[in-house]
C-alpha cells in the first residue's frame, strides 16, 4: 500500500447515479424475465427453495396423517407412494441443493467484494431450468401421474414394465434438469471464487462459507454427471428400448452404482455449505476469530474427498464381495474424523466466550445436538451387520432426517435469521425467532427420535400402513402429533419472514458487528453491490477497518458500463477490468429450448432434435456480441 498515494476518495453523486443506472434490472413484468444480477437470481433461488420446502413439508404432513393410526385409509396406497416419492424428490432436489446454491449465489459475491457472478446469464439460465423442472414435477403430481418408485427409483421397479405411465419419465427428465441447473451454478461459483475476490483476499483470507461453497461446487462437478448419465439411460430404457438396467439383459445394479455415486456426495453437497454457515455465524456471535481456520478448511476438503468413497454403504444388502464391504465400512467411519475436527474447533471457538444468544446462534447450537445424534446412528449403520438388520426400516428414516434436518435445515434457518437483514434491510423478530427455534427443536426430536425405536422394532419404511396387532399405533400417533409441533415451528419462522419484511427493526449495514465483507455495504445491497470495491488486508476485514482507520478501496473501475475487477487466483492481485453482460431474455429462451428437448422426449423421439436446434439458436443469440461494429471500432482505434 505504501507505494500508492493516500488520495482521499470523494463520492461523486454523478458516479453513483451512473452505477445505479447501469446495474439496474429492468422493471415490470417482462423485465422480470431478463434479470441477471446475482442478488436477483440468488433471491429467486432462495424463495423458490422455501416454496418447495413448504410443499415437501405438506406432503410429509399427509404421510404422517396416514401413518398416525394402523390400517388407516386416509390415502390410497398408490397416492401414498406418489407422495413419499415426491417428498424425497422435493426435499433433495428441489429444496436442499437449490437453496444452498441460492444462499451461495447471493452471499458469496458479497463476501468476495465483487459486483456480480462471473457468468450472470448462466446464473439466470440455471434458475429457469430449476423452475421449469419443479413446476413440471408438481404438475405431474396434480395430474395424479407422479412417480411412485421412491426418490432413488431403483429398476426394475422403475422400468417401463413395472412402472407404466409417465411418472418415472417425469422423474428422469426432472432429475436431468436439476443436474444441469446445479452444474451451471457450481461452475460459475468456482470461477467467481477463483477470479473475483477483492484485491488482497488471498485464498487463506476467504471466509469459511466461501471455502465451503467452493468444496460444494467441486463435489457437484464430479457427483452430478454420473447421475445425469444414469437418468438419461433410464429414460432411454423406458422410451427406446435400450437394455442398460433391464434384469438379465443389462444390470439393475449399474443404476444403483451410478445413483449412489451421486447420492452419497449429494448429502455432503447439502451439508458442507451448512458447515460453512456455522463457522461464520460462530465467528460473528462470539466476536472472535474462529479457532483452527486451517484445520476447518482442511477438514472441509477432506469431507469432500471422503464423500466420494462411501457410496457402496447404500448397497450393503445387494451382496457385495466381503472385501468391498469392509473397505466401505472403514471409509464410512473415517468421515467421522474430519466431522469431529469441525465440531472440536467450534467448541474451542465457543470456549471462554460470552456468545450472544441470538436466534442464529440458537439454531447452530441445535445443530450440534442433533447432528451428533445423527452422526452416532451414522457410525452404527456404517457397519455391515448392523445395517443389514435395520436396512429399509424406520431406523434409517430417523438417521437420515437427523443428519439432513439437523445437519442442513437447522444451519440453514440459522443462516436465514443471520442474513435476512442483509437481504431485506430489516432484522427478523427475536422473540418469535426464539419461539420458532424451540418449537422446531423440540418438535424435531419428538418426531424423529421415536422412529429409531420403531425401526428397531422392525417397522419397514415406505409402507403406506401397518397392522394393528404389531402395536406400533401409539408411537406413530405420537410421532404424527409431534410432526405437527415441528410444522408449527417452521410456520412461525415463515410468519416471522413476512412480518419482519414490513415491521422488522431496521438493520443498518452491519447489525451483528460481523467481520466479512457482505456487511460492508448497505442492506439490502445496491444493484452494483459495492460503491467502491474494498481492499482486504486481513482475514476479518470489517473488524480491521473499524479500528478508526481509513478504508482502502479500489478506484478507477468504470461506472458507465457493467465493469468489475478480476484478480489472480492465489493472491487476488488485480489483473484486469472485465465487462459484464447485462439483462437478457436469452437465458429464459435457452431454458425453454432445453425444456422442449428433454421434456418432449417423453412424448416423441423427434423432440431432442428440435430442442437441439432451438438451443443452438438460443445460444447463438446469447453469445452474439451486440453492437458488434461499435465495439470493434472502439477497440481497434
Amino acid at each position: 500500500m505504501t507505494e500508492h498515494e493516500r488520495t482521499q476518495v470523494i463520492d461523486s453523486s454523478e458516479e453513483t447515479r451512473l452505477l445505479t443506472e447501469v446495474w439496474r434490472s429492468p422493471p415490470g413484468f417482462f423485465g422480470w424475465f431478463t434479470h441477471v444480477n446475482q442478488t436477483s437470481i440468488g433471491k429467486r433461488f432462495i424463495i423458490t427453495g422455501f416454496v418447495f420446502f413448504v410443499l415437501g413439508g405438506l406432503l410429509a404432513a399427509l404421510m404422517r396423517i396416514q401413518l398416525s393410526a394402523p390400517e388407516n385409509n386416509f390415502l390410497p396406497p398408490d397416492l401414498y407412494n406418489q407422495i413419499f416419492t415426491m417428498h424425497g424428490i422435493t426435499m433433495m432436489f428441489l429444496f436442499a441443493v437449490p437453496i444452498m446454491e441460492g444462499f451461495a449465489i447471493y452471499i458469496v459475491p458479497l463476501m468476495l467484494g465483487t459486483r456480480d457472478m462471473s457468468f450472470p446469464r448462466l446464473n439466470a439460465f440455471g434458475y429457469y431450468v430449476y423452475l421449469i423442472a419443479g413446476v413440471a414435477m408438481y404438475l405431474a403430481l396434480f395430474l395424479g401421474m407422479a412417480p411412485a418408485v421412491g426418490w432413488f427409483a431403483y429398476p426394475p421397479l422403475a422400468d417401463a414394465r413395472y412402472s407404466p405411465g409417465m411418472g418415472v419419465d417425469f422423474y428422469a427428465t426432472v432429475i436431468t434438469f436439476m443436474e444441469i441447473s446445479a452444474l451451471a451454478a457450481a461452475v460459475e461459483l468456482i470461477a467467481t471464487i477463483f477470479k473475483q475476490r477483492a484485491p488482497g483476499m488471498s485464498l487463506n483470507r476467504m471466509p469459511l462459507f466461501v471455502w465451503a461453497v467452493l468444496v460444494m461446487s467441486f463435489m457437484i462437478v464430479f457427483a452430478m454427471p454420473p447421475l445425469m448419465v444414469g437418468s438419461v439411460m433410464l429414460a432411454l430404457d423406458r422410451t427406446v428400448g435400450t437394455h442398460f438396467f433391464i434384469p438379465g439383459a443389462g444390470d439393475p445394479l449399474l443404476w444403483q452404482h451410478l445413483f449412489w455415486f451421486f447420492g452419497h456426495p449429494e448429502v455432503y453437497i447439502i451439508l458442507i455449505p451448512a458447515l460453512g454457515m456455522i463457522s461464520d455465524i460462530l465467528t460473528t456471535f462470539t466476536q472472535r476469530p474462529v479457532f483452527g481456520y486451517t484445520a476447518l478448511v482442511l477438514s472441509l476438503v477432506a469431507i469432500g474427498f471422503i464423500g466420494f468413497g462411501l457410496w457402496v454403504h447404500h448397497m450393503y444388502t445387494t451382496g457385495m464381495p466381503h472385501l468391498a464391504s469392509n473397505f466401505f465400512t472403514a471409509a464410512s467411519s473415517m468421515v467421522a474424523i474430519p466431522s469431529g475436527v469441525q465440531i472440536f474447533c467450534w467448541l474451542a471457538t465457543l470456549w471462554g466466550t460470552r456468545p450472544r444468544f441470538a436466534t442464529p446462534l440458537l439454531y447452530v447450537l441445535g445443530f450440534f445436538f442433533i447432528f451428533v445424534i445423527g452422526g452416532l446412528s451414522g457410525v452404527m449403520v456404517a457397519s455391515v451387520p448392523f445395517d443389514t438388520q435395520v436396512h429399509d426400516t424406520y431406523f434409517l428414516v430417523a438417521h437420515f432426517h437427523y443428519v439432513l434436518i439437523g445437519g442442513a435445515v437447522f444451519p440453514l434457518f440459522g443462516g436465514l435469521y443471520y442474513w435476512y437483514p442483509k437481504l431485506t434491510g430489516r432484522l427478523m423478530n427475536e422473540t418469535l425467532g426464539k419461539v420458532s427455534f424451540w418449537l422446531t427443536f423440540i418438535g424435531f426430536n419428538l418426531t424423529f427420535f421415536p422412529m429409531h425405536y420403531l425401526g428397531l422394532q422392525g417397522m419397514p419404511r415406505r409402507v403406506y400402513t401397518y397392522l394393528e396387532p404389531l402395536g406400533w399405533g401409539d408411537i406413530n400417533l405420537f410421532v404424527s402429533l409431534s410432526a405437527g409441533l415441528l410444522a408449527l415451528g417452521f410456520l412461525s419462522s415463515f410468519i416471522n419472514i413476512f412480518w419482519s419484511l414490513k415491521r422488522g427493526e431496521p438493520a443498518g449495514d452491519n447489525p451483528w458487528h460481523a467481520d466479512s465483507l457482505e456487511w460492508g455495504t448497505s442492506s439490502p445491497p445496491p444493484a452494483y453491490n459495492f460503491r467502491h470495491i474494498p481492499v482486504v488486508i486481513e482475514r476479518h476485514p470489517l473488524w480491521e477497518y473499524q479500528e478508526g482507520q481509513d478504508i482502502p478501496v479500489v478506484t478507477g473501475i468504470r461506472s458507465d458500463r457493467r465493469e468489475l475487477l478480476v484478480t489472480s487466483l492465489l493472491d487476488a492481485h488485480p489483473q484486469y477490468r472485465a465487462v459484464m453482460p447485462g439483462p437478457s431474455v436469452w437465458p429464459l429462451l435457452l431454458a425453454v429450448a432445453v425444456g422442449i428437448g428433454f421434456g418432449g422426449f417423453m412424448f416423441h423421439n423427434i423432440f431432442p432434435v428440435v430442442g437441439f436446434v432451438l438451443s443452438f439458436i438460443a445460444l447463438a443469440g446469447w453469445f452474439w456480441p451486440r453492437e458488434l461494429t461499435r465495439e470493434v471500432r472502439e477497440e481497434s482505434s
Partner: protein
C-alpha cells in the same frame, strides 16, 4: 470512516487472456463435467461387460478396425487447423482464423459422415442387447458433441469474417479451441473402448 484509494484500476487493461479470464475457467469446468460424463459411460461399458460370457454378446461381430481408425485420424487432423488459427491470432494474424476453422469443420463433417455410414449397417441396434445400448449411447453422445462443435465454430468463423477478433479480443477463439481439442482428445479413450476393448475382450 473515510476511504482512500489504494488501487487505481483505471490503469489496468480491459481485456486478458487464457487462465486470467473467468470464462476460461468456465470452459475448463464444462470440460471436466463432460469428461466425467464420458468416464461414466466408459465405466458402464465395462460394468455391463462383466454380465456377459462374451463381449460383444453372442451373434455380434466385434467391430472392424480399419474404417474407425481412419475416421479417428480424420478427427485428430481437424485439431491442427484449429491450432494454427488459434496461435496465429495471438500474433494478430487474422487470415488463418478465417480459413483454419473452415478446414476443421470440413474434417469434422467428414468424421460424422463416416460414423453415419459405419453405424447404418453395423449389424446391431441400441435395443439389440446391452452392448448395443452402451455403444450407441457413447457414439451418439460423442457425435452430438461433434455436431455442436461444428455449429459453434461456424458462429466463431462468421465473427472472424466480420473482423471481430484481434490480438486483444481473442478469448472467444481460445475457448472455442479448447473445447475443440477436448472433443477430439476425449474420442481417443472412447475409440479405444469401443473398438480395441471389444476386440481384445472377444479373443
Amino acid at each position: 470512516m473515510n476511504r482512500f484509494s489504494a488501487i487505481d484500476a483505471s490503469k489496468l487493461p480491459s481485456y486478458a487472456f487464457s487462465h486470467c479470464v473467468p470464462i476460461w475457467w468456465g470452459i475448463i469446468g464444462l470440460i471436466v463435467v463432460e469428461a466425467t460424463v464420458f468416464a461414466s459411460l466408459v465405466i458402464s461399458f465395462f460394468y455391463l461387460q462383466t454380465n456377459f460370457p462374451t463381449w460383444p454378446p453372442d451373434g455380434t461381430q466385434p467391430p472392424e478396425l480399419l474404417k474407425p481408425t481412419l475416421a479417428t485420424l480424420v478427427l485428430l487432423a481437424s485439431a491442427i487447423p484449429m491450432y494454427w488459427a488459434d496461435s496465429s491470432i495471438k500474433e494478430g494474424k487474422t487470415f488463418p482464423l478465417k480459413v483454419g476453422p473452415l478446414i476443421s469443420i470440413a474434417l469434422a463433417l467428414a468424421f460424422l459422415i463416416m460414423k453415419v455410414i459405419e453405424y447404418r449397417d453395423i449389424g446391431f441396434r441400441w435395443d439389440t442387447h446391452a452392448y448395443g445400448s452402451v455403444v450407441w449411447a457413447i457414439v451418439g453422445f460423442h457425435s452430438a458433441h461433434v455436431l455442436a462443435l461444428i455449429l459453434k465454430t461456424s458462429v466463431v468463423t462468421t465473427l472472424a469474417w466480420q473482423n471481430y477478433f484481434n490480438s486483444k479480443r481473442r478469448i472467444g477463439v481460445t475457448v472455442n479451441g479448447l473445447y475443440w481439442y477436448f472433443v477430439v482428445i476425449i474420442w481417443i479413450p472412447l475409440y479405444m473402448t469401443i473398438y480395441w476393448a471389444s476386440h481384445l475382450l472377444q479373443s
